[in-house]
Structure formats: structure tokens, C-alpha cells
């Protein structure tokens, strides 16, 4: 039986570990079909690399320039670069500090603002010191059981878990 295709692919990459490596090597020594398969993968690899690999001189054409630029930017004139770093690093804490300041500012108005007009502008929905006379109940009428139908009362009690037995005055149950 031939070896798994995937093993051949891994073998090509030099990624096979023992005991697979020995097995695959041995198998390849006598199996033409698997040798061909290995050849296929090798050829594909070669084709891809030849078509698309960057040539070294092309790839590294700006390496020295970029290295120099980065070194100048970060390491030369040490004090400047340290200062720069500090600014960069404290940026997020600056934002936090600014946010905290805004919070305190707005909060100050919300909790201590005497002038209702000003507070209202900043926090329109903030309830300004409610006076007794300006507050009123939605309804002054007392709610009584008469406001509910018998069905409503029964279903309410039912929901609460009560078992309710209803009998009507003057009417005797038939099966008694």
C-alpha cells in the first residue's frame, strides 16, 4: 500500500519526524508512483518559487535606507527620542484624564448647581429641585374592588395561587 500524499508533502518540506521519516524513505526507495508524486510536489514548488519569488537585490533595495531612517528617528539625539516616546506613551492616559475632567465638570453642575437654568442646559432631563406644590398624583380617586370585574379578580387570585370557590346566594348547586 502506498503512503499518504500528505506525508510526501511534509517529507518534501523536511518536516517528517521518526518513525515516519524512515518509513517514507524506505517506501520511496522502491515505489515509483510515490517517487513521481514527490517529483510533482517538487516541480510545483519550483514553479511557484521561480515565478513569484522576489530576487534578493530587489527585495533589499531600500533596506539600508530604511534602517538609517529608523535609527535616525529613534536612536540618534537620544534625548529627543526619549521625549518623543514619553509623549506617545502618555497619550492614552491623557485621553483618560480629559474624560475624567469632563465628567467632574458636568457632575459638578448636576450635584451642586443652584441655578436650575444652567443645569437644565447641560442635563436637560435632570429633575430640578421638585417642590411639593408642583407635584401631583396622576389620579386622586381611590381604587376599590368595584373597579374590577369578577373575572379579573378571579384570574388575579388564580395567578397568585389561590383556589377560589364561588357560590351565588340563593342558588343551590344542582347535584347537592
Amino acid at each position: 500500500m502506498c503512503i499518504d500524499d500528505q506525508l510526501i508533502s511534509a517529507y518534501l518540506d523536511g518536516e517528517l519526524k521518526e518513525p515516519y521519516l524512515t518509513e517514507v524513505k524506505e517506501h520511496l526507495s522502491y515505489c515509483q508512483a510515490c517517487r513521481d508524486r514527490l517529483k510533482d510536489f517538487k516541480a510545483l514548488d519550483g514553479k511557484i518559487k521561480e515565478a513569484l519569488a522576489l530576487r534578493e537585490e530587489e527585495r533589499d533595495r531600500h533596506k539600508a535606507k530604511i534602517a538609517e531612517m529608523l535609527e535616525k528617528k529613534y536612536f540618534e539625539g537620544g534625548r529627543k527620542s526619549i521625549f518623543r516616546r514619553k509623549v506617545e506613551l502618555s497619550l492614552s492616559s491623557l485621553v483618560t484624564a480629559a474624560a475624567a475632567l469632563v465628567f467632574v465638570f458636568v457632575g459638578g453642575f448636576a450635584f451642586f448647581g443652584e441655578d436650575g437654568g444652567q443645569t437644565g442646559e447641560i442635563l436637560p432631563s435632570y429633575p430640578l429641585r421638585a417642590e411639593v406644590e408642583s407635584a401631583s398624583f396622576v389620579s386622586d380617586e381611590k381604587v376599590t374592588l368595584d373597579d374590577f370585574s369578577l373575572e379579573e379578580i378571579l384570574s388575579y387570585l388564580d395567578k397568585k395561587g389561590y383556589v377560589v370557590d364561588v357560590t351565588l346566594k340563593g342558588i343551590r348547586p344542582i347535584n347537592e
Binding site: D40, K47, A51, L52, E58, D60, I66, A67, L70
Partner: protein
């Protein structure tokens, strides 16, 4: 060996060692050398700015590779439409000093292979790109992509089979 990204010698060492690798990875995702160089530079800028330290040079390398890979993918997503226009105008190829005819064949070959790779789903494409265009082994590729070594092995194989399907096998005798 500890690597600190703000240490001059460490920075120089890592840059010297990994810059080519970063350009290679970025280039094979965005297919434009200028952009790839910009992205590699950006990765090193972040490396310094973050003021990080790594337990080894390899760890720094994996971090940089992850950053440049993500930068390249983001670049592609952002510029997808513009890039389509540019490549249809034909700005894509690097100039090679070869005779006209072989240049033509080469360009055609390059286009075919590139299209084949681009047609792979992203999870296969990145793996095969890292495998073919860098010297990274399965373990390293797994570290960069956040997948297991076994998973890399499976994906490399799948990508190869797919590429074979697309490109055909007739090139076997050539090599």
C-alpha cells in the same frame, strides 16, 4: 537572549535579520514592492513604539511577522477596489532585465501562478505563501498564524493539491 525593542543594538539586530522576511511576506500578500516596503517599515515602527521585550529573537520575529501580515491584509481590504483598477492597467510587474521574449513568457507564467495562489481561500493561501516564500518551518508558520503545526502540515498539503488542480501537472517533465 532577551530582546528589547527600544534597545538600539537589539533593534538593529532584529531589523537586519527580519526586514527581508517582512518584505517578502508583505509583498506576497499585496503584490507590490513599494507597499511591501512601507508595511515592513510600519511594522518596525510599531515594534519600537510599543517598547516591548521578548524572551528571544524568534519571539520578536513572530510578533513582527504577525503585525506585517495583518497590516498587509488590512491594506488589501482597504484598497481592494483601487487595486483592481491599478492591476488592470498593468502596473503590477517588476521590471526584469531579460530578453523581450523570455520576459514575456516569464510574465505570463507569473500571472498564471499568481492567479492560482490568489484563488485559494485565505486560510490555505497564507500558509502556502509563508511556506514557499520564506524559510519558515511548520512550527514557525503555526506561531505566526496562530494554528498548530499539524494544521500547517494539513493546509500546506491541501494548498498544493489545489494548486496542482489549477495549474495542471504537465510541468513534471520540465524539471
Amino acid at each position: 537572549m532577551d530582546i528589547r525593542s527600544t534597545d538600539k543594538d537589539d533593534f538593529r539586530f532584529v531589523f537586519d535579520r527580519d526586514y527581508p522576511l517582512l518584505v517578502d511576506v508583505a509583498y506576497h500578500i499585496v503584490w507590490d514592492l513599494d507597499t511591501a516596503e512601507d508595511l515592513a517599515e510600519e511594522a518596525f515602527e510599531r515594534f519600537f513604539m510599543r517598547s516591548m521585550s521578548f524572551p528571544s529573537a524568534d519571539d520578536a520575529r513572530y510578533w513582527l511577522l504577525r503585525v506585517v501580515k495583518n497590516l498587509a491584509l488590512n491594506f488589501l481590504r482597504r484598497n481592494k477596489r483601487e487595486l483592481e483598477v491599478v492591476s488592470s492597467v498593468g502596473k503590477e510587474e517588476l521590471s526584469y532585465n531579460e530578453s523581450g521574449e523570455s520576459n514575456l513568457i516569464r510574465n505570463e507564467e507569473r500571472r498564471l501562478v499568481r492567479n492560482a495562489i490568489e484563488s485559494l481561500p485565505e486560510n490555505l493561501r497564507l500558509v502556502i505563501q509563508l511556506k514557499e516564500f520564506t524559510s519558515l518551518d511548520y512550527k514557525a508558520i503555526g506561531r505566526v498564524l496562530g494554528i498548530s503545526e499539524t494544521n500547517v502540515k494539513v493546509r500546506v498539503h491541501r494548498a498544493r493539491k489545489k494548486l496542482e488542480e489549477i495549474l495542471g501537472k504537465e510541468y513534471r517533465d520540465v524539471y
